[in-house]
């Protein structure tokens, strides 16, 4: 008689999710923000996004051919890198800029470390920071919303940084995206829709986004104005790339801590760094640098927040 006792190694509980499935869902959840970007900034935004995505996928393919490894363009991770990179660019950049950035993201940000799962930094942010350091002129020229031509305007955070007073920008404008900025970061509503999908599907957890946004809010509330506890925290949440960063880039599976405790430390760290860079740093926006810095700290955080193995001391 055959025994009904089956002995097998873990994992015992299996779920439908797979890497391509998660990646494609994340890519789909970014579509609302992309549509909003195109509505706000015109078709330029679409071309920039397409250029970045195509360049990212092609460089992933080229690297696979060149190193004779498995070609991984179908798992969707290169597509996400391309989209996220484009979402962090102004809509008026020349089209070679997203292409160069995407190639850099994939080659230097991801593949030289060994591909998906090995990269220590978020590849899209590596590309963005590279472009920011190399061509600051293009990276800080933002189109005016709903003008669809070459009229430029500064982002609200940049205006604040120069010490000028913001005029006629309401919280509702910021929430809906009627402001100068990068393609994917302006429409908070669209970003939240995408984020809600990911949260409901369980592909991301609340720990990093909530602690990240909350820390930034508290910090800018305390130190954001000349007087303590008078900062405009809502403005700081709604402007810049904070929401995009908190939900879509600080939650990168590979470059963030594994445990809930570690993720909370990661989120608080991101929030502190973002607020410090915004209030006292040289750049108007610090979300991308904050996330990259915390990416670098991730192995360290993981080391000190290991879950206790049941039965061990």
């Amino acid at each position: 008689m055959k025994s009904n006792l089956i002995v097998s190694g873990s994992p015992h509980i299996r779920k439908e999710g797979s890497v391509p499935r998660i990646m494609w869902t994340v890519a789909a959840s970014l579509i609302p923000a992309g549509i909003a970007g195109v509505v706000i900034f015109g078709l330029d935004a679409l071309w920039v996004t397409l250029a970045a995505v195509i360049a990212a996928v092609l460089s992933e393919w080229a690297f696979g051919i060149f190193t004779k490894r498995k070609i991984t363009i179908l798992d969707g991770s290169a597509v996400i890198t391309g989209i996220l990179l484009a979402f962090n660019l102004p809509s008026g950049v020349p089209l070679w800029l997203p292409v160069v950035g995407a190639v850099f993201s994939i080659f230097i940000g991801k593949q030289v470390f060994g591909g998906l799962g090995q990269n220590i930094f978020n590849p899209a942010l590596v590309g963005r920071v590279f472009l920011m350091a190399s061509w600051p002129k293009y990276m800080t020229t933002f189109s005016r919303p709903f003008s669809y031509d070459a009229i430029t305007s500064a982002t609200p955070l940049a205006i604040l940084k120069e010490g000028k007073i913001l005029e006629h920008i309401s919280y509702l404008d910021l929430f809906l995206g009627k402001r100068g900025g990068c393609i994917g970061e302006v429409c908070i509503l669209a970003l939240l829709i995408g984020a809600a999908v990911l949260l409901i599907r369980g592909y991301i957890t609340w720990h990093i986004p909530v602690t990240y946004i909350f820390t930034t809010a508290v910090f800018t509330y305390i130190f954001g104005a000349g007087q303590l506890f008078h900062g405009d925290w809502l403005f700081h949440i709604l402007s810049g790339g904070l929401i995009l960063g908190a939900f879509f880039m600080a939650t990168d599976y590979v470059a963030t801590p594994l445990t809930a405790k570690g993720q909370i430390i990661f989120g608080v760290g991101c929030g502190l760094l973002t607020a410090v860079i915004r209030l006292w740093g040289g750049y108007p926006e610090g979300a991308s640098y904050a996330i990259l810095m915390m990416n670098a700290a991730t192995p360290f955080i993981d080391r000190y927040t290991k879950n206790r193995i049941y039965g061990s001391k």
Binding site: V112, A133, S134, W135
Partner: protein, 197 residues
């Protein structure tokens, strides 16, 4: 004679101080912004390397083992001072561009490394060719790195514009660009080496 040629050529590719021994990266990272700086640094380091290797090889039997490192440092520092004063006198512009990195050749690992690993065990003639080869290898590596960085970072080589309309990638003129270029070149040379083996 054949031996001497071998001592000379090994420093250029097989034991290149920068890409194979991975020594002396501090000046390599710092001064490789332009080809002119790279050549200047390479020549200064080669001069020091040559002088110190010869002198260390000559006095190697007289130096007590326990205090050999301080002795080497004194010898090296002498040559560095000569190089620095000559540079100040004959090309003050280069001296200003290289700044603190000229006196810092004293603690360059390549110079001390060759004294400790080669010159203290070998004859003067062999040490001379070893120092010359290593210096040349270091100079060539610097020219390669600074050439890439100057071209990408400012669109020029030795001040000449190569491609019109090329928008320089500023990041390669910054320290992060130096780390990127050196990292990629190291990977490339390791690839070549593995392929040969």
């Amino acid at each position: 004679m054949k031996n001497l040629v071998k001592e000379f050529t090994k420093g250029i590719i097989k034991e290149n101080p920068t890409f194979v021994l991975v020594l002396g990266l501090c000046p390599t990272l710092a001064v490789s912004v332009s080809v002119a700086n790279g050549i200047g640094m390479g020549i200064a380091a080669t001069f020091v390397l040559l002088g110190s290797s010869v002198i260390v090889a000559l006095v190697r039997d007289f130096i007590p083992d326990k205090i050999r490192i301080p002795c080497y440092i004194v010898i090296i520092a002498t040559f560095v001072t000569i190089a620095e004063l000559c540079m100040k006198a004959y090309s003050p512009g280069l001296d200003r561009a290289l700044g603190i990195y000229v006196p810092l050749i004293v603690v360059n690992c390549i110079v001390l490394g060759r004294a400790e690993a080669f010159a203290c065990k070998n004859s003067m003639a062999r040490s001379f060719f070893d120092g010359l080869g290593m210096g040349l290898g270091f100079t060539l590596a610097l020219i390669l790195i600074s050439g890439i960085r100057e071209f990408l970072g400012s669109g020029q080589i030795l001040g000449h514009v190569l491609i019109k309309g090329f928008e320089p990638i500023f990041v390669f003129g910054m320290p992060s660009g130096a780390l990127l270029v050196i990292g990629l070149l190291l990977g490339f040379f390791n690839l070549l080496k593995n392929r040969k083996a």
